[in-house]
């Protein structure tokens, strides 16, 4: 299982803050997971179309090619705007 989190505008657009799912077959990195989730269609396509989407794996900033493995926590969110 992996945990997937969504924040801020993306969380609102998806209507989901967090979910747990089995690591989908063939998904090995953040980019693969993003494409898999966008493939659900409907609002989920926003995961593919959102510009400047940011990712974290296990609470560290990540890139599309950052590996995702069993037990990981993956987060998708817009560019940060704190401070």
């Amino acid at each position: 299982m992996i945990k997937v989190l969504y924040f801020a505008g993306l969380r609102e657009a998806l209507g989901t803050a967090a979910e747990e799912l089995a690591l989908p077959p063939g998904v090995a990195d953040v980019g693969g997971l993003r494409a898999h989730l966008a493939g659900r269609g409907g609002d989920w396509e926003k995961l593919a179309t959102t510009k400047n989407l940011r990712f974290a794996v296990n609470q560290d900033m990540a890139r599309a090619d950052t590996p995702v493995t069993e037990g990981d926590e993956v987060a998708f969110f817009p560019p940060v705007t704190g401070g």
């Binding site: 609470q59 969110f77 817009p78 560019p79």
Partner: protein, 153 residues
Amino acid sequence: MSISVQHEDFDLSTEVAALRAGQPGVGAVVAFVGLVRDMNEGSGVSEMALEHYPGMTEKALAAIVHEARQRWDILGSRIIHRVGALQPCDQIVLVAVSSAHRGEAFAACEFIMDYLKTRAPFWKREVTPDGARWVDARETDDSAAARWARPES
């Protein structure tokens, strides 16, 4: 090297006093305070809410402070970032750095703020007369952070 993510407000004097306590070698403190403005991008702002990613926030801030300590000879630092509902004029964030001489404190404080703005998972949502909106990231924040990039990093 204390870091807090909290709903509560903070008092600048109290925080700077704690940062300096027991360190008579501190000759310089630079403190940054970020505040909720009543205007943003041309619209009045009546209220703001700060969302964050619990766990990652603290980890990201600790990593930023760790990098600042490697780059500059600083004696201490204090970061407080508020979350939840805020009003115009409220304090949002404090970054305070102590050092023997001022150059290190200025550089480290600005570095921490520039990295916080681009790497710490906080998101602002503001209420305006046209409704609530998520604040867009500013390109100038990316360029401010990029100034500190090092060839090896």
